[in-house]
């Protein structure tokens, strides 16, 4: 614990003229839930969940919350990003849909038609694993190297198609980072569907982004070697470009600790826009983290390892800054409190998923350490309730305001 660092939390800076007005979804790494806060840092909603969050979280246009959570049977449970269950809950925390597969990890991508792309771990056969280059030799987990599989599942949980990464990656070309373990090849940590139907995947361990054709499975484009250092969370922009978080962890050469946000053109690799701080470590998160392009052109960035969420304009000017101070920064892994945030997303006040719900008046934030109890309901005992102002106030009362 450092005294100076643990002292300042909450809203640090806010320029309400330039910031994109809305609500920010915060998914802390530890603690008991996912939070929605307004621009002033006030708490608007809290989803109390039993499972530990595993990474990305999304407020769907229908107002439900979709998130990845950890499953205790995950074979690589200790790895950050290990998941196992995808859960969709409504505004009050009632489970609407879930999908269990203990091997799930990192990200997911909800398509407009309701299908979901998921990433899961599969064992790589020894014959292929032996050919994989890079990594510290002898660091396979119990002699097994794990690979990735991308699946598209529909609402019933049926697999529509799947793509097994190690069948298509080339051991001569897709070389792992030399100082990472050989537990995995290539640790996909983000996937999305491009407008033309191809799938884009970011490979954490290989420092690259690839596009494959889902019909043939062939990799049609590779980019990032020599540019990226352990990237995170590619997202598709309205203009067809990709925004991603280049963490800078294990950056070759002079590694001062600098993360970058890059806007790249898929299938060409041109960097159209980038954001980084000139002084080292002013913007750096070696793990977790994500970024988002907002409708007014600003960018919301979650610097995960410091729990800092901030918004910058296209010119890189800071317009909003918040350091996670939600009650869930709880001691679990470490002896002291920490405020790491897996991911954060901003939704505008007119976002369809927030209709009616955004009218609720935020209450004063409760003091850290307040026990919110277990509010997770299952589908069986859920009552169909109309969300009214009264029901929301009841809910807030339940939460102990």
């Amino acid at each position: 614990m450092s005294y100076a660092r643990t002292e300042i939390k909450g809203i640090i800076f806010s320029n309400s003229y330039q910031a994109y007005n809305g609500f920010t979804l915060v998914c802390p790494q530890e603690g008991n839930g996912i939070w929605l806060i307004d621009m002033k840092g006030n708490l608007v909603n809290h989803w109390n969940i039993n499972n530990k969050p595993a990474g990305y979280v999304e407020l769907l246009p229908n107002g439900n919350l979709l998130f990845a959570a950890k499953h205790p049977e995950n074979p690589l449970y200790e790895i950050e990003g290990a998941g196992g269950i995808l859960i969709e809950v409504d505004w009050d925390g009632n489970i609407i849909w879930n999908y269990k597969d203990p091997c799930l990890h990192d990200s997911f991508y909800r398509k407009n038609n309701g299908n979901t792309l998921i990433i899961k771990w599969v064992e790589i056969p020894k014959s292929i694993a032996n050919k994989v280059k890079g990594g510290v030799s002898g660091t396979e987990k119990d002699g097994v190297m794990w690979g990735d599989e991308i699946q598209e599942i529909n609402q019933d949980g049926t697999v529509e198609w799947k793509w097994v990464a190690h069948e298509h990656l080339d051991p001569e070309v897709d070389i792992s980072c030399p100082i990472c373990s050989r537990t995995e090849w290539a640790h996909a940590n983000g996937c999305l569907e491009l407008p033309d139907g191809d799938i884009l995947v970011s490979l954490w361990k290989n420092n690259e982004v690839i596009i494959f054709d889902k019909k043939t499975g062939n990799i049609t484009w590779r980019w990032g070697y020599g540019q990226l250092a352990h990237p995170y969370n590619p997202i598709l922009l309205d203009n067809g470009n990709i925004l991603l978080f280049d963490s800078g962890y294990h950056r070759p050469g002079i590694d001062l600790g600098n993360s970058r946000i890059l806007e790249i053109v898929p299938k060409s690799g041109d960097i159209l826009w980038s954001y980084e701080e000139d002084a080292s470590q002013l913007f750096y998160s070696s793990t977790i983290s994500n970024c988002q392009r907002l409708p007014n052109g600003n960018n919301l960035i979650c610097e995960g390892s410091t729990g800092r969420i901030f918004e910058i304009t296209k010119k890189g000017e800071l317009v909003w800054e918040y350091i996670n101070n939600l009650p869930s920064y709880s001691p679990s892994v470490y002896e002291s409190k920490h405020c790491k945030v897996f991911s954060a997303m901003r939704y505008g006040i007119n976002y369809s998923g927030l209709k009616r719900k955004s009218q609720i008046i935020p209450k004063k934030q409760p003091a850290p350490g307040v026990d919110f109890g277990n509010n997770m309901k299952t589908t069986e005992n859920k009552k169909k309730e109309e969300v009214t102002e009264e029901s929301v106030l009841n809910r807030l009362r339940q939460l102990g305001y």
Partner: protein, 389 residues
């Protein structure tokens, strides 16, 4: 980490009973002013030097300030920016800043030591230390084809006397093994092994920290032979290796390019001199709270506390053996350099109240009224208020 921008400045925590107390010497990276502060954060002396510091400065036992200055920039010397902490001049000034001695030493970098017999050790990328072709071919590791102008710049430790005459020289490639002392797989092959700290042990031998090889070696003074290697596979791109009074070795393990998956963190480790086993370590809690990818320093104080310098964030703190912070200071000295505004500091040193170099010195903060109004404890903003409009 915007921490450096929004955090409080000055002394943020002080426990007078458990702290070792004393005065702290600070050399900001991009400033020609070197500062001595007391335990409450008051400025008690300032040395206004002619050059930017290349590494750090020390307060000698005679009360003089000694440092390596950046005589020429990397561009003027003709070396790329990745040759960090490049100096070129060693200088000694008295308490009031009058030059006592100075000597131009080309390619000097990082560390120096002034010995009791009044000679000076320093590390330098001298031209005769450039790796011979055969040796460079044998040297393992590094990113392929990243040599600087097809050459790997080596490193040397040189001992000079006050007249500038070379008394002793140790050239890295004459003694190191190209297979054992290899280059980190993610470093360029432009320079090797980068001796970023040197320490004279009580037996007269030298302890050198080899940054690129991620290890600490003990070198016999008489023969130049490697007596012992420490930390290979345990520490990564470390700094400031030193021998403690109990014989153990204290080193700042930066953790940059640490193998296997771990969020970046730094730590301070104390190793057993014979076995190399780690007998004590300090990590942040959570570990990512304490990370300095480059530079960094540590020293053991007389009461057993450890002073740690988190260089990149300009943060100096003192921890007890039980890893409790008892003093913490954030450098308020921000400087602008080539577009980067940072409070990066080189190694910080603590001198106890009875240190001989501080005897009969005027240590009143009143001598620096104006500076204390800007950087001192009273007017440093204590309460943070969010800026919202």
């Amino acid at each position: 980490m915007n921490f450096g921008l929004t955090m409080k400045k000055g002394v943020t925590f002080y426990d007078p009973i458990r702290s070792d107390n004393g005065y702290t010497l600070i050399c900001p990276k991009y400033s020609k002013d070197m500062w001595l502060i007391d335990i409450e954060g008051n400025i008690v002396n300032r040395w206004r030097m002619p050059y930017l510091p290349a590494g750090h400065g020390r307060l000698l036992e005679n009360g003089n300030f000694f440092y390596g200055g950046q005589l020429k920039t990397n561009k003027e010397v003709g070396l790329p920016e990745e040759f960090s902490a490049l100096g070129g001049i060693l200088m000694e000034v008295d308490w009031d800043g009058n030059t006592i001695w100075q000597m131009e030493v080309p390619y000097q970098h990082h560390d120096f030591q002034v010995t009791k017999r009044d000679t000076i050790f320093f590390s330098a990328h001298t031209e005769n230390s450039i790796l011979p072709y055969d040796y460079a071919m044998k040297l393992e590791g590094g990113i392929e084809n990243t040599e600087y102008e097809n050459k790997i710049w080596g490193d040397a430790v040189i001992e000079i006397n006050r007249n500038g005459e070379k008394v002793w020289e140790w050239i890295a490639h004459e003694h190191l093994d190209p297979k054992i002392d290899d280059i980190c797989p993610l470093e360029t092959r432009a320079k090797w092994p980068v001796i970023n700290s040197l320490w004279i042990c009580r037996d007269g031998n030298l302890l050198l920290s080899l940054r690129v090889s991620s290890e600490v070696v003990k070198v016999e003074y008489k023969t130049g032979k490697i007596l012992k290697r420490y930390g290979k596979g345990k520490i990564y791109h470390q700094h400031d290796a030193r021998e403690l009074k109990n014989g153990n070795i204290l080193v700042f393990d930066n953790g940059n390019h640490r193998q296997n998956y771990n969020p970046s963190f730094s730590r301070v480790v104390e190793m057993h001199p014979e076995t190399g086993e780690i007998v004590w370590e300090y990590k942040g809690n959570p570990p990512s709270d304490f990370y300095s990818a480059v530079a960094g320093a540590n020293e053991r104080l007389s009461n057993g506390n450890t002073l740690i310098c988190d260089s990149q964030l300009g943060r100096i703190f003192e921890v007890t053996e039980e890893k409790q912070i008892v003093w913490e200071y954030i450098s308020p000295f921000r400087n602008e350099n080539e577009g980067s505004n940072t409070n990066f500091i080189w190694r910080a040193h603590r001198y106890s109240n009875d240190y001989t170099g501080l005897r009969e010195k005027n240590l009143s903060p009143k001598n620096f009224l104006w500076e204390n109004r800007i950087y001192g404890p009273n007017l440093t903003e204590k309460r943070f208020t969010p800026f919202v409009f």
